[in-house]
């Protein structure tokens, strides 16, 4: 059984430490300064208020409010019929969500940690992803699975996994991961409002990042990438936790080397906004792809292949990958060494820049 994980010491590339008051109620105002945890909580709250078919359930989400407090207050506000604790069984959490969706509800189940998605794998890939196609479009599957994801928080085994490749290799799922509080809010609102199953990967390492969130003007939809920093020498393609790493690296690159890096935040891994990636790489002529998970057959492999296939004659250098390694996820004391950080990314940029 999982325990709440204390926030670890900051990494070099972490966002600034937020002040206290993470869980204090926020006033009703279009623009609020929120941590990512609070932004997700706000999105759940607003989605439940907007549509009473929206249900939130999972392990420890109701009374406790989630091990990261992401679901805090929902049971109190909407009642335990709409936000409830389930027995400890991930396959069942997803399986009942499918049954509810068949009957027209909009479940938002939580898998407590990335590593515990494995028991739900069959329900996700064999049923959730395929239901619309196998009924030839008869049945909508508006299920949004929230999964606190990725590493970098000093967690115990099975709490730091990158699962996106499994979902991306499964037709029928949409896969999104925010890098900022506003994106956390709007990607979740769009996911819940849509009719397809969405895997919503929450970058735990950025849970405490703070930013102003406009909860009135709809943010970019699913299927669109965002250019977080404009540059001219190389494009860094990142998502989730590593967008902040890429932005930090861009600062360092400008300062130390005079390189101007463009940072593309994918936001939505499927559907993929390849147009934005392509437009950027055409301008810079160089691309480095980042992800935390193991390199082999990670999303970087797909992006590198795609960029090479479609932009070969625009490239000044091979597409490079700054990723984790093909080992199991390391123990907490070693994860800083293992995770792709500023240095590994800049090594890749250096290699790309040295190409003739």
């Amino acid at each position: 059984m999982t325990q709440i994980i204390e926030r670890p010491p900051l990494h070099d590339d972490d966002a600034p430490e937020p002040g206290r008051g993470l869980l204090t109620p926020v006033p009703q105002a279009p623009t609020l300064t929120l941590t990512m945890v609070a932004a997700i909580n706000r999105a759940l709250h607003d989605a439940m208020a907007a549509d009473d078919r929206v249900l939130v359930f999972g392990e420890d989400v109701a009374t406790l409010g989630g091990v990261f407090r992401v679901t805090e207050g929902l049971a109190e506000t909407f009642g335990v019929d709409r936000c409830f604790d389930t027995p400890l069984a991930e396959s069942a959490i997803i399986g009942i969500a499918i049954g509810m969706a068949i009957r027209g509800l909009r479940p938002v189940p939580e898998i407590q940690f990335d590593g515990f998605a494995a028991p739900a794998f069959d329900q996700i890939v064999s049923h959730l992803a395929k239901y619309r196609m196998r009924t030839r479009g008869d049945v909508d599957m508006p299920v949004t699975i929230r999964i606190p994801s990725f590493g970098g928080i000093g967690a115990v085994e099975h709490h730091s996994e990158s699962t996106e490749t499994y979902w991306l290799h499964t037709a029928g799922l949409k896969v999104v991961t925010p890098s900022t509080p506003p994106d956390a809010y709007w990607l979740l609102r769009h996911a819940i409002a849509g009719s397809d199953p969405v895997i919503y990967l929450e970058p735990k390492r950025r849970y405490w990042a703070r930013e102003a969130v406009d909860t009135v003007t709809p943010g970019l939809p699913i299927g669109r990438a965002a250019i977080r920093r404009v540059g001219e020498h190389a494009t860094v393609v990142a998502y989730g936790s590593l967008v902040a790493t890429a932005l930090n690296a861009a600062d360092v690159a400008a300062e130390r080397h005079g390189w101007s890096l463009e940072v593309v935040d994918l936001r939505s891994l499927n559907p993929l906004d390849f147009d934005t990636v392509a437009e950027s790489v055409r301008r810079t002529g160089r691309a480095v792809v980042m992800h935390e998970g193991p390199r082999t057959l990670g999303f970087g492999a797909e992006l590198a292949a795609r960029i090479s296939e479609e932009l070969f004659y625009d490239l000044e250098a091979p597409v490079l990958r700054a990723t984790g390694f093909d080992t199991p996820y390391p123990p907490a004391r070693l994860e800083k060494l293992w995770l792709p950080g500023v240095d590994r990314l800049l090594d890749c940029v250096d290699r790309a820049m040295r190409q003739p």
């Binding site: 069942a92 399986g95 509810m100 049923h127 239901y131 009924t135």
Partner: protein, 365 residues
């Protein structure tokens, strides 16, 4: 693992299954579950069972003639399926596995709809949900969780509907079934787990699936009612399912029903059961045939007549023809539908892949 592991334990003896009509067609002394069903209902159950078997036979023929990719016969299990499905309302949801021809036919799905899967025209079940029937579920036992979720949805929607999941003896070994039983009990979901214990999971006998002699005995361990019923007795299956449905509708929670029956045919048309079971065993069950037994009973109570048999035979013949006509030479679906039905709105990448395939096909043409 040798069988010595089992010999060291003593499982409680399985209770006798609820039985209203004995294999020889005579009424039993069972009283608690006896119901006075009107003659039309009795005849309807008979007709549904006969039609199911006739259609099942036609399906096997069509497979042998190369018109179907595969077929999973329900021969021998007609009473269990018809009894269970007939006791429910049309707004109660069924979550079948893949062998429930009788139950889904009774719900009004057409032979063409049922046959589309076996011909390989499309997966799942087209238009099934219009009749409150989920598409078939081939990963064993997984649909039980969907049934629980749908039952929880019915609670949330303030309906008085129930859901019924069909599963088999083999499925009870799956983790999902354990999770489904536990969730249903914890949430007091209006859900019925209807286990057709047909004694075989492909080639593995029920004795190898579990060390207990009755699946129904597991129910109290989950905190729900459990009952063992003669799965070849349509009236008994009807009665116990009706009682479970009533309990669920009144807020009494889920029920685990074990219908003891027998898979008379192979697992599917690809299977050869002579490799793992004896003719003598099959003969024992042949003598307990659900349709012959029920016909004898109906004759004794004056419901079965030559006229009924003629009517039933005519409908069976009509449906066999309908099935054959809907299957033989049926058009394939447009390959573009494969791409267009993955998401509500096709993604740009998928649209490009669809266009690539269509361009390939245009070149070949």
């Amino acid at each position: 693992m040798g069988s010595s592991v089992r010999a060291s334990r003593e499982a409680p003896r399985a209770p006798d299954p609820i039985q209203l009509v004995a294999p020889d067609g005579t009424p039993t002394a069972e009283d608690r579950y006896r119901r006075d069903l009107p003659p039309e209902t009795l005849a309807w159950l008979y007709e549904s069972m006969v039609v199911t078997r006739e259609l099942d036979t036609e399906f096997v023929n069509l497979q042998r003639q190369g018109e179907l990719a595969l077929f999973a016969s329900c021969r021998g299990q007609e009473a269990a399926q018809i009894g269970a499905a007939a006791s429910l309302r049309k707004t109660d949801w069924l979550f079948p596995q893949y062998r429930e021809i009788g139950a889904v036919l009774l719900r009004g799905l057409s032979p063409a709809q049922i046959g589309a899967v076996w011909r390989g025209r499309w997966h799942g079940g087209l238009g099934f949900t219009d009749k409150c029937v989920a598409p078939i579920s081939i990963p064993i036992g997984t649909q039980t969780l969907h049934a629980v979720g749908a039952a929880m949805a019915a609670q949330r929607l303030g309906e008085h509907s129930v859901t019924l999941a069909f599963l088999g003896d083999g499925a009870t070994s799956e983790g999902d079934v354990h999770e489904a039983l536990n969730f249903a009990a914890v949430f007091n979901a209006p859900c019925i787990f209807f286990v057709q214990n047909n004694h075989w999971a492909i080639s593995v006998p029920v004795e190898r699936q579990m060390a207990v002699s009755s699946i129904a005995q597991r129910a109290p361990g989950y905190g729900m009612s459990g009952i063992r019923v003669d799965g070849n007795d349509v009236l008994a299956c009807f009665a116990v399912t009706a009682e479970a449905a009533q309990r669920a509708r009144e807020g009494g929670g889920p029920t685990l029903i074990e219908a003891v029956t027998y898979r008379m045919g192979p697992h599917t048309t690809s299977d050869d059961p002579t490799r793992y079971r004896s003719r003598a065993e099959v003969d024992v069950w042949e003598a307990r045939d659900p349709i012959a037994r029920y016909r004898t009973y109906l004759r004794s109570v004056g419901v079965w007549t030559e006229r009924l048999e003629e009517r039933v035979g005519a409908r069976a013949k009509r449906l066999r023809t309908e099935l054959r006509e809907s299957i033989v030479g049926a058009d394939d679906f447009d390959i573009a539908d494969m791409f267009d039905t993955v998401y509500q709105d096709i993604t740009p990448d998928l649209a490009a892949q669809r266009d690539q395939l269509l361009a390939e096909l245009a070149k070949e043409a």
